[in-house]
């Protein structure tokens, strides 16, 4: 008897699927009105989007002449211009090179995301990638034709600035965080504080301008810096400060007892940091670090302001062609699609990592 009563009170009353949704969506008058408004909005917006994207659009395999009359998207535009958007003014016959260069960078990122492989070997992987990327893009060795940096445009420039910028900024940020977190070397600590606060106190555009105009002035006359390199240095300086603060947040959560325990084992400072402190701190700091990575990746397109043509700038070029100037929306959708896909991968990875560590 007691058993049955308990069963009755703990199990929710059995209702059908339709009934459950009816109660959720139309439980009372207010819910019902809200639901109707939302359905109307979704249908309205959805039908506009579908009309533009599919029904009134010109299919990619049709001729571009049909686009003049169509009220929807002009997909032949992307068929015609996708290589310009991806690789810009890089010599047409040589465009397999930026393609391969972009691909190895993406593979490099994929490999670095596997937790099992995240160790010292990655340093060599990234140095190797940097050399291979430069050789592929620049040429001038091994029978590859030389291509001046002015012709490096589009996707490889975005990936190069974002990925190498972040890869080189991370160790620097780690060093800054450790320098700021300790109190044995006050001078070093002061430098780290100054660096981080100065960089975080100015907009990214300003750091980019400093890289483009001030950095070359500080160099000896006979060294001519490639604007892509100066921009990358500026980005490394900028991102390192944000990494440092994310990592320092992690460092502060490691309990004092962990330090004392490590000291009592007779570990050196280096051993203590590497074996005890950092593994715990980095795990805590990971969401913050990935947040910085996502933001930095998207901000990279700001380099167009200093005349570097990443994928956003080449998209603009694609619809500056007088014949194609009506199709800016299609070009931006293409670029938006790329950013959405890559950022979605990054944020799913970050969610997966959090589930795995917790």
């Amino acid at each position: 008897m007691e058993q049955t009563i308990r069963a009755q009170t703990t199990l929710p009353p059995k209702i059908g699927f339709a009934e459950k949704w009816r109660r959720r969506l139309f439980g009372n008058l207010r819910d019902g009105i809200l639901t109707m408004i939302l359905i109307a909005a979704v249908l309205g917006l959805g039908s506009v989007a579908i009309n533009w994207l599919v029904i009134n659009a010109v299919a990619p395999w049709s001729t571009a002449d049909l686009c003049r009359e169509a009220t929807g998207a002009c997909w032949p535009f992307l068929v015609e211009k996708h290589r310009l958007i991806l690789f810009g003014t890089y010599p047409w016959e040589q465009q397999w090179r930026p393609f391969m260069a972009s691909l190895i960078l993406l593979i490099g990122v994929g490999v670095s995301m596997v937790p099992h492989w995240q160790d010292k070997r990655l340093i060599w992987v990234w140095l190797g990638l940097a050399v291979t990327f430069t050789v592929l893009m620049r040429g001038g060795v091994g029978g590859l034709e030389y291509v001046q940096p002015e012709r490096w445009n589009g996707l490889p420039v975005l990936l190069m600035l974002a990925i190498f910028g972040l890869v080189f900024a991370f160790p620097l940020g780690l060093f800054l965080a450790l320098a700021r977190h300790q109190d044995k070397l006050p001078a070093l600590r002061a430098i780290a504080v100054l660096w981080i606060e100065l960089v975080r106190g100015v907009p990214m555009i300003m750091v980019l301008f400093l890289g483009l105009f001030v950095l070359p002035l500080m160099m000896p006359d006979d060294i001519k810096l490639n604007p892509l390199i100066t921009t990358m240095i500026a980005l490394v300086i900028f991102h390192s400060a944000y990494f440092a603060e994310s990592i320092r947040g992690g460092l502060q959560t490691v309990p004092l007892g962990q330090y004392e325990a490590a000291d009592s084992q007779g570990l050196s400072w280096f051993q203590k940091t590497r074996l005890i402190i950092l593994p715990q701190a980095l795990r805590i700091a990971m969401p913050g670090i990935l947040n910085t990575v996502l933001g930095a990746y998207k901000d990279t397109s700001l380099v167009v302001i200093i005349g570097i043509h990443d994928i956003m700038a080449t998209a603009k070029m694609s619809f500056s062609d007088p014949v194609w100037q009506r199709y800016g929306l299609e070009a931006y959708l293409f670029v938006g699609g790329w950013f959405l896909a890559t950022c979605w991968c990054l944020s799913s990875y970050s969610r997966w990592l959090e589930r795995r560590t917790s």
């Binding site: 010599p91 001046q148 002015e150 005349g307 500056s320 007088p322 100037q325």
Partner: protein, 346 residues
């Protein structure tokens, strides 16, 4: 008789010395590298924009090709580079490029810089106004009380202030930095007038849903002589200047890239002017020797690039989306009432 043979010979010898003495470092460098570095805008519809293959095309880029055809005999040897924020004039002064064909306005203070030379004006532009036809305005002087959309921080605003100020016309400015946003505001009626260079206005007009609803007013309120820029080098400057004159002369004489092969096959029966322009043993040939150009330089320019009218029509003329009339504008030949005056080649 004797004199006629001796003189050219003497000239040839002199020319030999002259070439040695005058051929500047820039000309020598271009010939040694068999390539000419020419700067253009990265994104200027009608003037220079990369095509689907990533090769710059447009009115300005054709003058890079003209120079390469004249000096190197091959228009494709022009190494055309888009240059963005970093100033093309600074790059020329720093010897990072040989020439620039980038819609640069020749001004007094710019020309005073010894590190660069303005060579020849290829296009006469000027600032103008576009209005919706329903506004019922025919002249800029009737724009009293109008709201003007213009690019923030540009010389456009300074020119408007000068012009309206001189005429005591009241106006209000709507500053919008982004071009698409500015056009949207204008087409949606948020401002009465759009101010910009007239070439830019012509291409902007096409972006309206009904371009026929908008008109460009006749007033031109500033002078913008868009001029080819080169590194200082006598021989190089002379080559650019006269390559351009060849294009003007060819247009005046009706020689085009289409008909030039027929004309060359029958050169002896052509008018004297055409013979001087393309004959290797006449004025063009003599110039080639003195400046240090291939003997058939004038032929190569017209064959590979075309005359001035062809270049204009190809990129800006009635068959393009710009549809910019040339008759009775400054960019017509002088014989048609314009400012382009073909210097005699003789």
């Amino acid at each position: 008789m004797k004199v006629r043979f001796v003189l050219p010979a003497a000239f040839a010898v002199l020319a030999g010395f002259a070439t040695q003495a005058n051929a500047g470092p820039v000309m020598d460098k271009i010939k040694a590298e068999d390539s000419l570095v020419c700067l253009v805008n990265t994104n200027s519809p009608g003037f220079s924009v990369p095509d689907s293959q990533g090769v710059y095309q447009g009115f300005n880029t054709d003058f890079c090709r003209m120079t390469a055809a004249a000096i190197l005999g091959d228009a494709k040897k022009a190494d055309i580079r888009g240059i963005g924020f970093s100033d093309s004039m600074k790059t020329i002064v720093a010897e990072g490029a040989d020439m620039a064909s980038r819609s640069i306005t020749r001004t007094g203070t710019r020309d005073a810089n010894p590190g660069m030379r303005f060579v020849v004006t290829t296009y006469y532009d000027g600032q103008g106004f576009m209005i919706p036809k329903k506004l019922g305005v025919n002249h800029a002087s009737e724009l009293n009380g109008a709201t003007v959309c213009a690019e923030e921080g540009s010389t456009t605003l300074l020119n408007i202030a000068d012009w309206f100020g001189d005429r005591n016309i009241e106006y209000r400015v709507e500053n919008i930095a982004d071009k698409s946003a500015r056009l949207q505001a204008f087409f949606a009626g948020k401002c009465d007038v759009l101010a910009s260079d007239r070439t830019a206005l012509s291409s902007d007009r096409l972006l309206a849903d009904n371009p026929g609803d908008f008109a460009i007013l006749p007033e031109v309120i500033s002078n913008e002589p868009l001029t080819l820029l080169s590194r200082p080098d006598d021989a190089f400057e002379t080559a650019i200047y006269w390559a351009f004159q060849v294009m003007l002369n060819a247009e005046a004489m009706g020689v085009t890239s289409e008909n030039i092969d027929g004309i060359m096959a029958d050169l002896a029966n052509q008018p004297k002017g055409v013979q001087r322009l393309f004959g290797q043993d006449s004025a063009a040939g003599e110039m080639a020797q003195q400046i240090g150009l291939p003997a058939d330089w004038s032929y190569q320019i017209i064959k590979q690039v075309g005359n001035y009218g062809e270049v204009y029509d190809r990129h800006l003329g009635p068959n393009t989306s710009f549809d910019m009339a040339r008759t009775a504008t400054a960019n017509a030949l002088s014989q048609d009432g314009g400012l382009l005056y073909p210097d005699p080649i003789r």
